[in-house]
Amino acid sequence: MTAFVVFVALVLLTVVWWSLPLLPAFQEWRGDMPGPLAIPAKHDGDARHFANRFREYVAIDSQRPALGTTAEQFVTDGPPLRVFVASAPLLIDQDWVSPGDIYAAKSVRGDGGVKMRGLLAEENIVLGERAEVRRWIHSGNDLEVGASSALSGRASAEGLLRVGEGTSFEWLSAPRIEFGRVSDVSSGPFLAGQTTESVVAGRPKKVDGDLEIAADSTFDEDLVVTGTLRIGPRSVVTRSLKSHGTLVMGDDVSVRGSVISSGDVIAGDRCTVGGIVVAERSVRLGSENRVGTERVLSTVSAPRISVAAGSVVHGTVWARGAGSVCGVCGVCGVCAGNAGALR
């Protein structure tokens, strides 16, 4: 009998000892049943998301303190507020630092050096040089940011978005985004009326190694190159291009489809692209490039993007790492780098 009791006790002890490491598992199992991993059902990746939410937020509480017609008046007269509303056109003095997000029912004009966290204006926004936006900025019409500014997070406009030379950016979105001073940007041989299918049926032509397409050529197939792909100046490509390495477009090249690279995309001057431009390392666009059209928006996306002044993108430019606008001066290296790559 004693032996049996000892045996049972030993078994029980063993079970308990063995179960000890499982206690957290049992505790988790018997605890509250969790819901599924959250997927934002309505999240559609719109650059205007913060602005739209902020507009709803402001509309809910109409009792928020109103900002006067100048920021200086507000800063001297009232305590710092997290959110404030301007019902009249808003003028912001030089080097003013906003303590919170701003909603402007009319337009906003800021002098040089203003710093803000978030700004939504239903009409035009014009910020001077050295402006700094930390999270987001959206204009219901046009948005213009002066030279040497810093746009962290999202910058979007319903109309024109003009970004000054020397400005850094992350995510730009507007029907027309101008980089620096834009004079006349070519629409290329086919962008003006482009409404055809963007993804065309067929197997792409695949080339192992490097490939160089001669200047003034016309290429009518989807093309995939496992090495470096160079497109000679003034060439016309009616389908899409992909390179596993660097993809270099000479001056005045037109591509109707998309331009994809597992490395870098380097475009010379006056190039036009109808589809998206995506690179896994960097995109460098020379001056007077045009991506997309007013009717058919596009996307330029890469960890690092630099665009020379004079270019226009219709749609979205998203630099996850760093984006910058360069003057055509050779100082920042983009133009010089492009020139080297294009040789």
């Binding site: 490491p21 499982l22 957290p24 598992a25 505790q27 988790e28 199992w29 049943m33 969790p34 819901g35 599924p36 991993l37 997927i39 934002p40 059902a41 309505k42 999240h43 559609d44 990746g45 719109d46 650059a47 995510w171 979105s173 482009q194 299918e197 963007s198 993804v199 065309v200 049926a201 067929g202 197997r203 792409p204 695949k206 989807d222 093309l223 995939v224 389908r239 899409s240 291009l241 992909k242 489809g257 998309s258 994809i260 597992s262 109808g274 589809g275 998206i276 995506v278 896994e280 997309g292 058919v296 928006l297 596009s298 996307t299 996306s301 749609g315 979205t316 998203w318 996850r320």
Partner: protein, 431 residues
């Protein structure tokens, strides 16, 4: 006697080597996911000239869930004139056909139903039939129990701007994760499979697997590889390998997330994993050698493909290894094993066994659901069930190596009640 022992030792060594390769693979994937460069080349494509897309929704007796899927698709952030939704009523005996027709009536031109009264011969046959009746270059497939979010379609379509991409796969997330222990374990397993395995394959330019749902296929690529195969249990794996062998790329889009229902009973889970195992083994038999010899496919991708196809042979191999170990032990031969073999076995025993747990724990961390990691020890239950199911599925295949039964639509039972899923549009709501 010595010959027998030598044979057994060789078998054991081979088994341990194979298992160690798989363990190493899981460590590489997990460490890459945690510390490597993450590839999401198309995640930021928001505005584009979106192509025409046909969404295929195969459905057989799905009256409980089909309305949710169609409502969610109608609500998608995609140009309406570019999107056609094709629900496929595959010989349903419940109200699926009527619900589909109601949607078609209310959304003429956008919802175009396909009725297959003589169907029921498998999902691939339904997809083949519907594909032949449509023309858009991009085909996206959702199972009827899936509820796509608003932005999902654009995320799945964006990679097709790359002319080399033949298929795109999104991430599946269990919606009924909290229902019982099994669903919670499957939630962890799915997280490991998608958050770590698939994304690591994408990062390393290997072979992300097209999973047959929450994914898209380029029609040209489909045509190029011979279309949907109707004589296979896993048309998704079959298509994956054929695409890879023809040089098409498959993109995994981790942020293209979609809810699904996972099995809530062990019986359903057993049947599901058994079907997957049989299908995988079947594809391995068909394409294993050809893939290995396709020199146009990079070596790393070929190795990954073979490991992917062979994953369901691992369970019977492990059983074999255990049996051989016991035999050697009772023959008094374990001590005679060379030191290197002992070291290999010991390494496998300590590191190999925890590779899968490591992967799943990493996935839970990446998903920000760390508390669920505490369930890891209980995963042993799920692995045991899988071990049995996979072994049962694999052993006859090893013996016969040919398909003898026509594919059946082996449906996983649905637990969701009709229209019980939030504010999705229902036929009544539309009316």
């Amino acid at each position: 006697m010595n010959v027998v022992v030598l044979g057994l030792e060789l078998v054991l060594g081979a088994v341990v080597a194979v298992v160690c390769v798989y363990a190493l693979r899981q460590y590489v994937f997990t460490l890459n996911r945690l510390f490597g460069r993450q590839r999401h080349p198309f995640i930021d494509v928001r505005t584009a000239n979106w192509p025409d897309v046909t969404v295929l929704v195969p459905a057989r007796n799905e009256e409980a869930v089909i309305a949710h899927a169609l409502s969610a698709l109608l609500d998608a952030d995609y140009p309406a004139e570019r999107l056609t939704i094709v629900p496929i009523d595959d010989a349903s005996t419940d109200d699926t056909g009527r619900i589909i027709d109601e949607f078609a009536e209310r959304h003429p031109g956008r919802v175009i139903p396909v009725h297959r009264p003589d169907g029921g011969t498998g999902k691939a046959a339904a997809l083949l039939d519907a594909t032949n009746r449509t023309s858009s270059e991009i085909l996206v497939v959702f199972d009827a129990d899936y509820t796509p979010s608003t932005g999902l379609l654009k995320r799945l379509v964006a990679p097709f701007f790359d002319p080399e991409v033949g298929a795109v796969m999104g991430r599946v997330v269990p919606e009924n994760a909290g229902r019982n222990l099994l669903t919670r374990l499957l939630d962890l397993e799915r997280a490991g499979g998608y958050q770590v395995d698939q994304q690591a394959r994408m990062n390393l330019s290997l072979i992300p697997q097209y999973g047959g749902t929450v994914g898209g296929v380029r029609r040209s690529a489909l045509h190029d590889v011979g279309g949907w195969r109707v004589d296979t249990l896993t048309e998704d794996t079959d298509l994956t390998i054929r695409l890879v062998m023809r040089g098409w790329q498959i993109v995994y889009e981790n942020r293209a997330e979609c809810y699904e229902e996972v099995p809530e009973t062990w019986r359903a889970r057993y049947r599901q994993i058994e079907r997957w195992a049989r299908g995988h083994n079947e594809v391995l038999r068909r394409f294993g050698l050809a893939l290995a010899l396709t020199r146009s496919v990079p070596l790393a991708r070929r190795i990954d493909g073979l490991l992917l196809l062979g994953v369901f042979l691992l369970a019977p191999l492990m059983l074999l290894g255990w049996a051989v170990t016991l035999m050697l032990f009772y023959m008094g031969q374990v001590a005679a094993l060379p030191a290197a073999a002992v070291l290999a076995v010991a390494t496998y025993a300590t590191m190999g066994n925890v590779a899968a747990f490591f992967e799943i724990a990493a996935a839970a961390r990446l998903d920000g659901i760390r508390s669920r990691v505490r369930l890891l020890p209980l995963l042993g239950i799920g692995f045991f069930v899988s071990l049995v199911a996979v072994s049962v599925a694999a052993l006859p295949r090893v013996a016969r190596w040919r398909v003898t039964e026509p594919p059946k639509w082996n449906k996983t039972p649905r637990s969701r009640g009709p229209f019980a899923h939030g504010p999705a549009e229902t036929p009544e709501a539309i009316a």
